[in-house]
């Protein structure tokens, strides 16, 4: 299509004489221009760009501006830090709360009489019912207040409070398990002068109770160290059916006596003694029991230990090591 008419030429003229005419020039326009014309066009374009360029900023001014920005950022950081400090001071984990049951229960309060010193929130454990393993009481929560040690109040750190609560729970659980079998048993009393000492004392009591449990198990009170498999007891009676006798024999042949590990039953029939655990004489009626196979010698020894335990807290020593695990 030939565009030689005057209207087209006039339109192109208007187009390229506008203020922003340079925007309508294609980027590779120089390829279509004569070199002399291109140089002239380039000079004009650079001259026009220089007219619109802002004044350059000096180095000193730039430094001053950057310093100002840094000061503003520092001020903002300080304000944030002060706000954080104020918030931390406002929060006190030891601050008492209104006990549950009140209209504003759980709210912070300054009234000590209704808060930490309120007997209703010291513990939810009943003094009549002994604690059982796995129970969680209010007392087991980490202490947040001071502890009375040797007549003086000591404030434990949060870490110490947590460790103390754990050690107390561990000790109480172990002692309770021992007392179920040996009600007269008491751990050795210990002295301490610090929170760390109190934690160590609780841990020592737990270790002592565990040692006592092992001692009892060695005497046949409780499943022994070789107890791997068991069958449920139908009750405390000692009339066993064929299934129980066969199952006991199978377990005995597999694992040996649950107390000493011996594979010699020591009976004329070769059947092991089916031992009720925990011993019937030491538990309250109705308690579920398990049957573990036991050799005759350990059964006899267990009988003596149970009798002793019922009458005096002294108990026998462990079975001789040389007799253990006899095949």
């Amino acid at each position: 299509m030939h565009r030689s008419d005057d209207a087209f030429a006039a339109a192109q003229r208007r187009r390229f004489t506008r203020e922003n005419a340079h925007l309508h020039v294609r980027h590779d326009a120089r390829l279509f221009m004569q070199p002399a014309a291109y140089r002239l066009w380039k000079q004009e374009r650079e001259a026009k760009a220089a007219e619109h360029e802002p004044e350059s900023v000096g180095t000193d001014e730039l430094k001053a501006m950057l310093q100002l920005k840094a000061e503003v950022a520092a001020l903002r950081a300080e304000i944030t830090f002060r706000k954080l400090i104020a918030a931390l001071k406002a929060y006190n984990p030891s601050q008492p709360r209104v006990p549950a049951g009140n209209s504003d229960g759980g709210q912070w309060t300054n009234d000590l009489g209704a808060g930490r010193n309120d007997s209703r929130i010291l513990s939810d454990a009943s003094p009549e019912v002994p604690p059982r393993p796995g129970d969680v009481y209010a007392q087991l929560r980490p202490r947040s207040g001071p502890i009375l040690i040797n007549g003086r109040w000591v404030q434990p750190t949060p870490s110490q409070a947590a460790r103390l609560a754990a050690a107390e729970a561990q000790s109480r659980d172990a002692i309770q398990r021992v007392r179920e079998l040996d009600p007269n048993w008491r751990p050795q009393p210990s002295t301490y002068e610090s929170v760390e000492g109190l934690i160590r004392a609780h841990r020592a009591e737990a270790r002592e109770a565990e040692a006592r449990l092992r001692e009892l198990a060695n005497a046949g009170i409780g499943p022994g160290e070789f107890a791997k498999e068991w069958i449920p007891a139908r009750g405390p009676n000692r009339s066993f059916n064929k299934y129980e006798r066969d199952a006991g024999l199978r377990i005995f042949r597999l694992w040996g006596c649950h107390t000493c590990g011996s594979f010699q039953a020591g009976t004329p029939s070769g059947f092991p003694v089916l031992d009720h655990q925990y011993p019937t004489a030491l538990i309250s009626p109705g308690t579920a029991q398990r049957l573990y196979p036991q050799c005759l010698s350990c059964s006899l020894r267990q009988g003596g230990s149970v009798q002793q335990l019922k009458r005096s807290p002294v108990i026998c020593s462990a079975p001789p090591k040389s007799r253990r695990r006899i095949r």
Binding site: A219, R238, F240, R245, C260, G266, T267, P268, S269, F271, V273, L274, P279, T280, A281, L296, S297, C298, S299, L300, R301, Q302, G303, G304, S305, V306, Q307, Q308, K310, R311, S312, V314, C316, P319, P320, R323
Partner: protein, 121 residues
């Protein structure tokens, strides 16, 4: 006077002591007769294999004619000797002649006795 019974005691063991009880002996692994001044433990026939016949009385009544396995003295302040089990059930009792009685025990087998004779005096 002689009294006897046939039982399968728990743990295959019985205790000979005063009616008011005594201090049980420290159990020793493998021992069948153990004693303290106030209590004697006697191993019986294995409980799951059968009963044990226990006889308690004066020596002339219960002496089987061989050497006793135990010969010693037992404190009997209440002057009644009892045979009890681990669960503290009294299975036999006879009067004792004094507050400290000579006591002899015979068993017909060192390990698996089916008969246990306990003689006083």
């Amino acid at each position: 006077m002689q009294r006897s019974t046939k039982i399968s005691p728990p743990n295959s063991i019985v205790f000979v002591e005063d009616l008011k009880g005594g201090e049980p002996p420290n159990p020793i692994w493998g021992a069948t007769i153990l004693a303290t001044p106030s209590c004697i433990s006697v191993a019986c026939y294995p409980e799951q294999d059968g009963p044990t016949e226990i006889a308690l009385g004066n020596v002339p009544d219960v002496d089987p004619g061989f050497e006793p396995e135990f010969d010693g003295y037992l404190e009997t302040p209440s002057r009644i000797v009892v045979v009890s089990t681990v669960d503290q059930k009294v299975v036999l009792d006879v009067p004792a002649p004094a507050s400290k009685s000579r006591l002899r025990i015979w068993r017909n087998h060192p390990k698996w006795p089916t008969k246990v004779n306990i003689g006083l005096g």
